[in-house]
């Protein structure tokens, strides 16, 4: 369990490091500003799917907070 924990934290650190070399200038954000390019585009779909999979499988969450429990699992 402890070993798995270390891998998870390492994964985040690796992802977060070296980030300062990536990116765009403020005036180059036209594409990224579009609704379809947001990380939580189709938030309703995500929430509905989260509810389906929470009640059919043993995993949940990861992207954000589930927004309320249900008695289905």
């Amino acid at each position: 369990m402890t070993a798995k924990y270390h891998w998870l934290i390492l994964g985040v650190v690796i992802a977060a490091s070296g980030c300062s070399s990536l990116g765009v200038k403020p005036w180059e954000r036209n594409v990224l500003a579009q609704d379809d390019m947001l990380m939580d585009t189709d938030a309703i779909d995500l929430a509905l799917d989260e509810h389906i999979y929470f009640s059919k499988e043993a995993s949940s969450g990861g992207q954000g907070f589930a927004g309320g429990g249900c008695g289905c699992n």
Binding site: L8, M37, D45, L48, K56, S59, F65, C70, N73
Partner: protein
């Protein structure tokens, strides 16, 4: 309480103080209706959702969401099928139901309507920091849940990198029909207590990073601690005769009273030169129940100049079983402290495939229809099966159709 009252007053004032020149839309409305239907007369769900986000100016906003969830149909109890007719006592303790030979025992008294309401308030702290506070309450006839959450976003690197930290605290009150059964007691004893509860605390740490003009990614680490009543009060573990494999008793299941979960989630979005968008994500989850899972999800949105789009979707999921998951127990085996035959804790793979199509008229004005199939499979003939169990499907496939219609607009 005072803070909530203050927030509500501020929200009400903002809502009522509509400017005279009300040409500017102030609300972003997202609505959808989901229909979920499992094959073989299992679970069906009908779920309308409506969400409204009110722009309060200066990047401050208030979001309300209401979900209604009407469930019907039958759910697997965890009991094994038999070559003989079986009789089960209903959760209420009043009355019984019978299961035909070789059928998977399903409890068809499973009908439920859930209402969920949430509110979130987002406001910048300064140019590079934002806070989001929210709460949720939901209620079904045997279950009530209340949660509060807080999220903090911090931008750096000319807003190319955003760090997120969040916490969610949830309290669930469970009042099962007929009462919460005493763990691992016989169905026939109907040894039940009243109600029970549990608390779940979730922490989220994330980084969202812009790669270039047309792509970005996000990595999140989530930690979740649950404690309290985590058992399903309606599920059984069958005790079978050690020679014939015929069920001789049904015990109410029992799960540990704590669960520690960790997950690592990554998501990537890329817009191509032709304006199509690829979204791909992966989640690894592990917990102290012995369950490990992997989830891969990808969509590709074909976007057409007219605003129409078509978006195929593929999701692949796999999980390992919980340490205390058993298909059944033999009557010559010790009964462990924790045992569950709930298929949702077993070794399984699942695939979702389908597509969404719709049309974007302009900023935040979109309709779409989603059509998907969900197919879940496990080991129907595990090596521990014997006697009459050899002829039975001990992990039936769960297959379902998902249909969703959505409409978003500004008002």
């Amino acid at each position: 309480m005072k803070k909530i009252a203050g927030l509500l007053s501020a929200a009400t004032c903002s809502l009522l103080a509509n400017p005279v020149q009300a040409e500017e839309p102030n609300w972003d409305i997202d609505s959808a209706v989901l229909y979920y239907n499992e094959d073989d007369d299992r679970v069906s769900a009908f779920e309308p959702v409506i969400s409204g986000k009110r722009d309060l100016g200066d990047e401050e906003s208030l979001t309300f969401k209401l979900v209604l969830d009407s469930l019907s149909g039958a759910s697997a109890t965890g009991a094994v099928p038999s070559t003989q007719v079986q009789t089960f006592i209903r959760p209420s303790g009043n009355g019984t139901y019978t299961v035909d030979p070789n059928d998977t025992p399903l409890d068809d008294t499973f009908k439920d309507t859930r209402v969920s309401f949430s509110m979130n308030w987002e406001k910048p702290i300064d140019r590079n920091n934002r806070r989001n506070l929210g709460f949720n309450i939901s209620n079904e006839y045997d279950f009530t849940s209340a949660s509060v959450n807080a999220l903090w976003d911090h931008d750096t690197n000319q807003k190319n990198t955003t760090y997120t930290a969040g916490i969610n605290v949830e309290y669930d009150y469970i009042d099962p029909v007929g009462g919460a059964p005493e763990e691992l007691t016989s169905m026939t004893a109907q040894d039940k207590n009243d109600d029970d509860d549990r608390t779940i605390v979730d922490l989220l740490f994330g980084v969202t990073q812009v790669i270039d003009r047309t792509s970005l990614f996000q990595v999140n680490l989530s930690l979740s601690e649950s404690s309290g009543y985590l058992t399903d009060p309606y599920k059984f573990v069958s005790i079978v005769d050690s020679v014939t494999g015929q069920p001789v008793d049904q015990l109410f299941e029992n799960r540990p009273d704590s669960r520690s979960r960790q997950s690592l989630f990554g998501k990537y979005k890329k817009m191509f030169a032709n304006k199509d968008i690829l979204t791909a994500s992966y989640r690894y989850m592990t917990d102290d129940w012995g369950i490990d899972s992997h989830t891969f999800d990808a969509t590709y949105r074909f976007r057409f100049n007219s605003g129409y789009f078509i978006q195929p979707h593929l999701r692949w999921y796999t999980q390992t079983e919980a340490d205390f998951y058993y298909y059944f127990r033999r009557d010559d085996q010790r009964i462990p402290g924790d045992a569950s035959a709930d298929y949702r804790l077993g070794d399984m793979d699942a695939i979702t495939y389908g597509f969404k199509f719709g049309r974007t008229f302009d900023e935040r004005h979109v309709w779409s229809v989603r059509l998907e199939r969900y197919e879940q499979t496990g080991d129907s003939s595990p090596s521990e099966a014997f006697g009459q169990l050899d002829q039975q499907d001990l992990y039936p496939d769960v297959t379902a159709t998902i249909v969703q219609a959505s409409y978003s607009f500004q008002w």
